[in-house]
């Protein structure tokens, strides 16, 4: 009597992973038929018959369903009722076209029908269903904001109608948008909510398991993902759909491949291949893609190429969809290995195109979501109060609904009776619920509008703002390097630079909020010159502070010279803290103090920013770290800012393995401290290598570079690479004398621009005679007493040469200058080490 229930599938072309599927049941039409509001009473009605047929065939034969829907459309009839019937038929036409992979045709059909439903039957199930269809298509097109808004609207309609299953579908669809934005916490949250609202049938269960597994896979939790996929597989077997089984097996194979178990992955993939017959054979290209990944990992690019040829058969590389993204990367590697650069390039370009699209989509979805949180904070309390009321009533409704739905599957007559009873039962609660829902709707609509407005602004931020910033900061830096500037002009330019850097930091912060929420922050540790870093941040702000009449000092006495950390992130944290301090302090002093400490889990680096501002009351001290929080609205208006700074600091510090803490009392200023683990590069103390010892540690050198040209400095610095433990640079021989007197160096290297006045160099050599003096010259350099003279290209040989000299204890002799000055002989100079 009832039509056979078969699962339906929706392709998520917007998914990040190539083998990601969201098998959300877009419609289990049989069940919906039972719950749907009937537009006509008599089943013999020709129109209704066609509609039923279309629904029945939708899952297994969308082509057939399309012709049924077309037929129904012709029978719609005139008038308002006719319009509604047309809309129903059009909805089914759009669903069929979508399943036949013709989304561009489906969308206008669905949109027109939606308009009819919105005007003729607002708030009806048809309205909700059409919102779902249109939003899904918009999501496929990449319009995530509109899709999200549409799903929310559909969700509200279904909730008001008590259509729990459809409500759950809408929640799953929202979850998949967050999945596309890589916000996996929210993804799981929405899937959980969907499961809570309706846990009725294997299709929903399959979808829930599959989507959770996808999110887990994206988070790198491959074992858990594999386990979840297997639960989904069990559901797929219950439903007995070959295509679904094949798709989930492919997902499992992919998870196993990522886990590193190639044998298992290949077995699973072949299992899928064997089952991919008949309707399921459309999935074969993706299975071959996974087999190609496995083959390449095994070091067999030839075989991988054979698989990939099948994957990409008939595909225009410029028009592949997101499902192929990761396979393009495999193809690129394969063709590179096989020596076919043209093909490799074509696939690389396709990968970049799809990756860009996905990241743009992810970024724009992110900004949409972030924008929602902007306003959402203000309305959060209001909403949660309303929600509590509504939820209580909803649970009641939903429970009642669930019971009825289970009964409805059993028999048609019983279904009808139960549906009627449910309808009257709902009406009793409806009036109370209606009021609460109305208020929630208003809030949600306002949210959606804010979403749309703000998302546009944030989405264009990155590339567009950074380009003019390049102009501002670039030119300012160039101007500042002009030695002829007066101090007055220099100070003013410094203010311009500070403002530009602040703007850059703001842009970075705003985008980082999105990245942190989705776990995209990557920390890149390298050897960092801490003193230089803190000095730079200090330089940026000291002028601004001084203009306010606030003293500003950076205390580096206890600061280690180098540490292994992410310089960019650390700079961002300190920059934000100092920026806050300068913002809120109108008198007194600001101090940036770096120090080390030993804690239970190892050495720590602590950077404290101490100010004499108004301080933070104890009650607020936790909340200041919340995103968008400001201690009081007044301060924001006076000082500006988005309130993002401290939240970012804490998240970034966490990414570095540390924390940001606050000590403060009202009226006594505040101290913010960054506390991160201290990792130091392995150093060998100067001179520690014993001559001739067999297990000598590699010598690392301290170099003083005398060279005014910054690019030459960079080249020589790069040439030394890791061989230079400490490389300091001065502009002139005179400056070198001061530095050399203060600290010892293994070698003093004079660049081509350093000048070679023999008098100056002789004097310099006397400051610390045991130092090796090297000249890097483009041509002949006559005169000065250098131990070695090298051409620029030979600088790389210098470290080895110096090491060898030290090991052998070569006595220091300097070349005889052409002018006939006295030569130095180490036996004359006393070794003062």
């Amino acid at each position: 009597m009832g039509p056979v229930m078969r699962p339906a599938l929706r392709r998520a072309a917007l998914s990040i992973s190539a083998v990601l599927i969201v098998a959300a049941p877009a419609a289990t039409f049989a069940a919906e038929f039972a719950e749907a509001e009937s537009s006509t009473a008599a089943p013999e009605d020709a129109f209704e018959a066609r509609i039923q047929a279309a629904k029945t065939e939708m899952m297994s034969d969308p082509q057939g369903a399309l012709s049924e829907a077309d037929g129904a459309l012709a029978l719609a009839g005139p008038g308002a009722a006719g319009d509604v019937r047309s809309a129903t038929a059009s909805w089914l036409r759009a669903e069929a076209l979508t399943r036949m992979n013709r989304p561009s045709e489906a969308l206008p059909v669905a949109e027109a029908a939606l308009e009819t439903a919105r005007t003729r039957k607002p708030g009806s199930k048809l309205h909700g269903d059409l919102l779902m269809t249109v939003s899904t298509l918009r999501g496929v097109q990449g319009h995530a904001q509109e899709a999200l808004a549409g799903f929310h609207q559909a969700h509200d309609i279904f909730r008001k109608l008590g259509e729990a299953r459809s409500q759950a579908k809408a929640l799953q669809s929202i979850g998949s948008i967050y999945n596309d934005a890589r916000d996996f916490q929210r993804t799981l949250k929405y899937y959980d909510e969907a499961a809570a609202v309706y846990a009725g049938d294997p299709v929903m269960s399959l979808s829930a398991h599959n989507n959770r597994a996808n999110a887990l896979k994206e988070m790198g939790r491959y074992e858990e993902a594999e386990a979840r996929y297997k639960l989904a597989l069990a559901d797929a077997r219950k439903i007995d759909s070959p295509l679904l089984i094949v798709r989930i097996l492919t997902n499992i194979a992919s998870a196993q491949y990522l886990k590193g178990d190639l044998d298992l992955a290949e077995r699973t993939a072949r299992q899928a291949l064997a089952l991919a017959q008949g309707p399921a054979q459309e999935w074969r290209p993706y299975i071959w893609g996974v087999l190609a990944q496995i083959a390449l990992k095994r070091g067999d690019p030839g075989r991988a190429e054979q698989y990939l040829r099948r994957t990409f058969q008939g595909q225009d590389l410029n028009r592949t969809t997101l499902m192929f993204r990761d396979f393009h990367l495999v193809a690129r590697d394969v063709y590179e290995a096989l020596g076919e650069p043209a093909m490799a390039l074509a696939h690389l370009k396709a990968f970049v195109r799809l990756d860009d699209e996905a990241r743009d989509a992810s970024a724009s979805v992110n900004s949409a979501l972030m924008a929602a949180r902007f306003d959402y904070n203000n309305q959060r309390l209001q909403i949660s109060e309303l929600k509590a009321e509504r939820l209580a009533k909803d649970v009641q409704l939903s429970k009642t609904r669930q019971q009825f739905a289970v009964g409805a599957v059993a028999a048609l007559a019983l279904m009808l009776a139960i549906v009627l009873w449910a309808y009257f039962s709902v009406r009793r609660n409806r009036n109370a619920v209606r009021k609460v829902n109305a208020e929630l709707t208003t809030t949600n609509v306002a949210l959606e509008r804010a979403l749309a407005a703000r998302s546009q602004l944030l989405a264009t931020t990155s590339h567009e703002i950074r380009t003019p910033l390049n102009g501002i900061l670039g030119m300012t830096e160039i101007l500042l390097r002009d030695r002829a500037l007066t101090d007055d002009v220099r100070n003013k330019l410094q203010v311009v630079k500070s403002s530009g850097v602040t703007l850059q930091a703001l842009v970075d912060d705003i985008l980082d909020v999105a990245k942190i929420e989705t776990g995209e922050i990557k920390v890149w540790k390298a050897e960092t010159d801490l003193r230089a870093l803190l000095g730079e941040v200090g330089d940026l702000w000291s002028e601004v502070a001084r203009e306010k009449g606030v003293a500003f000092n950076v205390e580096l006495a206890e600061c280690p010279a180098t540490a292994i950390t992410d310089a960019r992130r650390l700079r961002q944290i300190v920059f934000n803290l100092v920026s806050n301090a300068v913002k809120f302090t109108d008198a007194g002093a600001i101090v940036v103090r770096a120090s080390t400490a030993v804690a239970a889990d190892g050495p720590r680096l602590r950077i404290a920013v101490v100010d004499t501002g108004p301080g933070v009351p104890e009650s607020e001290q936790e909340r200041v770290f919340e995103a968008f929080h400001q201690v009081d609205g007044q301060t924001t208006r006076k000082h500006g800012g988005t309130g993002l700074g401290l939240a970012i600091c804490r998240d970034l510090a966490r990414a570095l393995g540390g924390v940001v803490t606050l000590e403060s009392r009202v009226g006594e200023g505040a101290t913010f401290t960054v506390d991160v683990p201290l990792e130091q590069p392995e150093t060998v103390p100067a001179g520690a290598v014993a001559v001739g010892s067999a297990d000598a540690a590699p010598v690392v050198l301290d170099i003083l570079l005398v060279e005014p040209n910054p690019l030459t400095v960079s080249l020589i610095k790069a040439a030394f690479g890791d061989d230079a433990r400490r490389l300091e640079r001065v502009d002139s021989v005179a400056a070198a004398a001061e530095t050399l007197a203060a600290r010892p160096f293994d070698a003093v290297v004079a660049g081509p621009g350093a000048g070679a006045d023999p008098v100056e160099w002789t004097a310099l050599a006397e400051v610390r005679p045991e130092t090796v003096f090297v000249r890097v010259a483009d041509g002949e350099a006559a005169g000065a007493p250098f131990d070695h003279t090298l051409a620029r290209g030979a600088v790389k040989t210098l470290p080895a040469m110096l090491r060898a000299e030290r090991e052998q204890g070569t006595p220091r002799t300097r070349s005889t200058p052409a002018s006939g000055r006295a030569t130095f002989d180490s036996s004359v100079v006393s070794e003062a080490s």
């Binding site: 690389l348 950074r466 102009g471 670039g474 030119m475 160039i478 620029r792 290209g793």
Partner: protein
């Protein structure tokens, strides 16, 4: 030293040109990948600064094509200069054959250090 600056935005080219001028570097400018390749035909460069987003031929394709050349310039140090952020930029660029990546807004130190490292990596220091 002679460096080729490739960027479709004249302001960005000017910034790079001025920064390099401070170090006494001679510069030649190109507006897109195609012009860059022609410039390499006619000159001997010590380094190429390559923007990513350009019309007609973008930075990534240009980089791949440079590396596919058969003359000495195939080996020229290439530094990608881009406003795009993110870790994936580095991987994509290096896999296409670039040596270093710097991000806009440019700082002179970052730019020079990148040029230095790229030059040393290609044995041109």
């Amino acid at each position: 030293m002679k460096i080729l600056i490739v960027d479709d935005n004249p302001m960005n080219r000017e910034i790079a040109r001025e920064m390099l001028a401070m170090a006494g570097v001679e510069t030649v400018e190109a507006e897109d990948g195609g012009q860059a390749l022609s410039a390499l035909d006619n000159g001997d460069f010590d380094c190429v600064l390559m923007d990513l987003r350009m019309p007609s031929m973008d930075g990534l394709e240009a980089t791949v094509r440079v590396r596919a050349r058969t003359d000495e310039q195939a080996d020229v140090p290439i530094v990608i200069v881009t406003a795009d952020g993110g870790g994936h930029v580095r991987t994509t660029c290096c896999s296409a054959g670039a040596d270093e990546v710097v991000f806009k807004p440019l700082s002179m130190d970052a730019l020079f250090d990148a040029i230095g490292r790229a030059a040393v990596a290609r044995g041109r220091a």
